[in-house]
């Protein structure tokens, strides 16, 4: 069997920063060689470093130990040197420069193994940071894939031509066939159909569209063919607006690493400056010679190595890695350890409703008879054969209700689908063929008397306020209104209760009607429901809650992506969520396991405590080992032992995070 060749996607190649993994010049099979190359090099260098330590124990194997160390310097030292030289050429002093300087200086005082260890630790933490930032980049790239890059334009003479969306002007007519995604915002000028917006807004019910209706880019055309007139250029389309919101939300997001960057620059400058100062000052004030093992150069280089934040660098990544690994085992995927820190600082949790607190699957609620009356079972039996081939969520709800009630569908003939409106056929009941129609309000309204139309309007509004979806059905002379509801997740109530027990403020953000929002909030015990929100309103509330209390936002749709990014921490439901939402989020609940949220808060507290202990220990080591060594109060070997001992201690302390939190 021949496997279809994967097409080259240049966009991905450019989004990945011209990475080998997506190189258009490499054969598809050989691109795999470029995956996680830096991480692989870091791990290989770690292996070489450990081998070097072991080989050095036996004097005759010393040359092999030296060879292994050269391997470390080659694999991770050369890349570090390249980065540092670039930084220095840009007149920038940072932790990279400090580490590289310390590592390579260590060769001068005969401690290359120390330098190699610095390089390995630094490379591993760098590889982890790269993995996190790559995930952030992919959030934007997935957004670009929502809308197609080309479309069929209807020219003035009526002929059709493919065009890149970049070449489509406002006012151009675009043909959207069934199953295609709308490339640009526009207004329908011909045709009737339904649009699927579930991946854009989380709304599971297809929206009927006809001439005069506006359609957003990114929506999927489900049934008929539509012709739209483009109303906005690509840069102003719905998808571009979402991209702008996500980008600005990412930029606005407060990040602990900014603080780290500032701190590391100052720290690096101070240590490098102090080392330089000691080289000159020690001979001047203490009469110490410049050269030799007791000389100022030797001591200053020793100070530089000992002051390298080895324990600091290892302390946080191991702690985060342990916590991330434990979380992953619980079905909670975190895109970086720093997220634990952000969760720790949050005082509020906000949930999106549809698809997050609810499953997004409809279930039968009740039926109102507008004309005549018969048993619900009879109506369901008549509806079942029409809905069997339909993809509409209401069709699924009809069929699952029939299954639950163990009802067999009636025989059917003359089936017809009316795009964007409904279905019609005849079903056989008691030897007679009876006409059946199921659809939206507009589909059956014209067959109703004015009184029935008024009653239908009232009932529809009532259902809308209750957050219910409706289907109107006519079987013979009987006219009925079916109501369907979204299903609440069974674990949602317990999760909300546990979060509140931890003293967290729980809110819900939904575009639904106020009446329905309040009903769901009451049922789950949510403190503050915000209803009838547009995407912009949602983002405003998220911004306010983020700055007031610190917010963990939980959502699932593409429309949640800006909110997930803007919140201090974004949590996406893993299964069934839009790719963009999972990529914009910091945390993914792999099995939609909401009950893990309270656990995650506890884990973040535990992580924070252990990291605080590690940082104190690491800082103490630097303070109590380096300065005395510089002044000759303790010998250099003891300073090195303390330095390494501190590193090992913080590493072991961090491993405690592999256990569950006990408070």
């Amino acid at each position: 069997m021949t496997k279809e060749k994967e097409a080259i996607v240049f966009d991905e190649f450019f989004e990945m920063g011209l990475d080998d993994r997506k190189s258009p010049f490499l054969t598809p099979q050989s691109r795999r060689w470029g995956v996680n190359l830096f991480l692989k090099a870091s791990l290989l260098s770690l292996f070489l470093l450990l081998s070097s330590y072991l080989l050095a124990l036996h004097p005759t194997l010393q040359p092999f130990a030296s060879l292994a160390l050269v391997g470390v310097y080659f694999l991770v030292g050369v890349p570090a040197l390249i980065d540092s030289v670039d930084d220095l050429l840009n007149l920038e002093l940072n932790i990279d420069v400090l580490m590289t300087l310390a590592a390579f200086s260590s060769i001068l005082i005969g401690s290359p193994a120390e330098g190699a260890m610095l390089l390995v630790l630094f490379a591993i933490s760098g590889a982890m940071a790269d993995a996190v930032s790559e995930k952030a980049k992919s959030a934007i790239s997935s957004l670009y894939k929502i809308a197609p890059t080309s479309a069929t334009v209807i020219l003035e003479d009526g002929s059709r031509a493919p065009r890149s969306v970049k070449d489509i002007q406002v006012g151009d007519k675009v043909l959207i066939r069934s199953g295609e995604v709308i490339p640009l915002d526009g207004v329908v000028v011909d045709g009737i159909s339904s649009l699927n917006l579930v991946h854009l807004t989380g709304e599971s019910l297809p929206i009927p569209k006809e001439v005069g209706d506006e359609v957003p880019s990114g929506a999927e055309n489900l049934e008929g063919t539509l012709t739209i007139r483009v109303t906005k250029p690509q840069a102003e389309s719905t998808v571009s607006r979402i991209i702008d919101l996500v980008t600005s939300a990412q930029e606005a997001k407060p990040k602990l690493q900014h603080w780290f960057e500032k701190f590391s620059k100052r720290y690096a400058t101070t240590i490098i400056a102090l080392s330089g100062f000691f080289i000159l000052a020690l001979p001047l004030f203490f009469g110490i010679p410049y050269t030799g093992e007791e000389g100022s150069i030797y001591r200053s280089v020793a100070f530089l190595i000992a002051a390298s934040p080895c324990a600091l660098i290892i302390a946080t990544p191991i702690a985060y890695l342990s916590a991330i690994s434990t979380s992953a085992k619980k079905g909670v995927l975190l895109k970086g350890g720093i997220i634990f820190d952000a969760i720790y600082k949050c005082g509020a949790v906000a949930f999106d409703k549809t698809g997050t607190l609810t499953t997004g699957e409809l279930h039968f609620a009740n039926v109102d008879f507008l004309q005549g009356e018969t048993s619900v079972d009879t109506l369901l039996q008549a509806a079942a054969p029409l809905e069997e081939g339909a993809i509409h969520p209401i069709a699924k709800a009809f069929l699952s209700e029939c299954e639950e009630r163990k009802l067999a569908p009636l025989p059917m003939r003359g089936f017809k689908a009316h795009a964007g409106r409904g279905l019609s056929a005849e079903v056989e009941s008691k030897g007679k063929w009876i006409p059946v129609k199921i659809g939206n309000r507009a589909f059956l309204e014209e067959e109703l008397t004015p009184e029935q139309q008024t009653l239908l309007a009232e009932k529809s509004d009532e259902a809308k306020r209750a957050g219910q979806l409706i289907a109107v059905m006519k079987v013979g002379e009987t006219l009925a209104l079916f109501r369907f509801e979204d299903t609440l997740r069974p674990e949602a109530k317990e999760a909300v209760t546990q979060l509140k027990k931890q003293g967290l403020h729980v809110a819900m953000l939904t575009g639904d009607h106020r009446e329905n929002g309040e009903r769901v909030a009451k049922e789950l015990g949510i403190d503050e429901p915000f209803s009838e929100l547009k995407p912009e309103d949602k983002l405003r509330h998220v911004t306010e809650l983020s700055s007031d209390k610190g917010l963990v936002m939980v959502g699932d749709g593409i429309n949640d992506a800006p909110a997930l990014t803007r919140a201090n921490v974004g949590v996406a439901m893993g299964s069934g969520s839009a790719t963009t939402a999972t990529q914009a989020a910091d945390v993914i609940l792999l099995h939609n396991n909401l009950e893990r949220l309270p656990w995650l808060f506890k884990k973040s507290k535990q992580t924070r405590h252990i990291i605080a202990q590690n940082l104190t220990l690491a800082a103490s080591v630097i303070l109590f080992a380096t300065t005395p060594a510089l002044l000759g109060i303790i010998p250099l070997w003891l300073a090195v032992v303390l330095h390494e001992g501190g590193t090992i201690l913080v590493g072991l302390n961090a491993l405690r995070l592999l256990r569950d939190p006990i408070f």
């Binding site: 190189s23 010049f25 050989s30 060689w33 493919p162």
Partner: protein, 248 residues
């Protein structure tokens, strides 16, 4: 694309077929440096050939020196690391250069669409497309960013996509070539001594040249004999000029 002959077009549309054919033509015109063999085979064969020549020169020039095999082995070890790393580095450098060219072409497409359209039109006019058919072909090509970039890279710049191997694969090919050739010289040394090394060196050169000729669909016999001749010529220069120098 109704009416396409699937056998003739090899599962591609007409435009895709034309592109492939033209690229094939451009490559055929180019001077061959072993590009048609998979990169790792080419690198391995080239390394084996070089090591074969080293064996000839080293053993002849240093003949009579103590522990010559040990010296040779460590010299080859160091050289192999260099040659392996260099193979990777060279192919990374080539990739970097090609990536820069793609980025430049994409910038052109994004910022000078009208100009790119004209270039494309000229390319396809030269192929014989005219009138409405030409406009249709250009419309199709311009509508898809990925396809347009691919066509411009292949047609305008004559680059071939998806035919190179990862630098690490090439490096491993090079390493394998060195190890095989070294193993042959070792077997030669321990079986026939000095002459065994010379024979193994020539054998490495011959087999590597034959292998490359086979992949490049060149005639094998001339390739093997020309390369062996070249090796003997190089060896003779070193040996006889040294002899002449010593006689002075």
């Amino acid at each position: 694309m109704c009416g396409n002959d699937p056998v003739h077009f090899k599962g591609k549309d007409a435009v895709g077929h034309v592109v492939e054919a033209q690229v094939g033509g451009i490559l055929s015109k180019a001077e061959i440096h072993g590009e048609e063999a998979p990169d790792h085979i080419a690198a391995g064969a080239d390394t084996a050939r070089e090591l074969g020549l080293f064996a000839l020169l080293f053993w002849t020039l240093f003949y009579g020196v103590d522990s010559l095999y040990t010296l040779f082995a460590f010299f080859i070890l160091g050289w192999t690391v260099w040659r392996t790393g260099r193979s990777a580095w060279l192919s990374w450098a080539r990739l970097e250069r090609l990536h820069r060219i793609v980025a430049e072409e994409k910038w052109e497409i994004d910022h000078h669409r009208d100009q790119e359209r004209e270039e494309l039109k000229a390319l396809y006019e030269a192929k014989g497309f005219t009138g409405k058919l030409l406009d249709e072909v250009i419309d199709v090509l311009m509508s898809d960013g990925d396809r347009l970039l691919r066509v411009m890279l292949e047609e305008e710049l004559g680059l071939t996509l998806e035919n190179q191997q990862h630098p690490l694969q090439i490096a491993i090919g090079s390493l394998a070539g060195a190890l095989i050739s070294f193993a042959l010289t070792t077997v030669g040394y321990f079986t026939l001594g000095f002459y065994g090394v010379l024979f193994a060196g020539l054998f490495s050169i011959g087999v590597a040249s034959g292998l490359l000729a086979h992949y490049n669909k060149n005639r094998i016999t001339p390739a093997v004999l020309w390369n062996l001749g070249l090796a003997v010529l190089a060896w003779s220069f070193a040996v006889f000029l040294l002899q002449a120098f010593e006689n002075l």
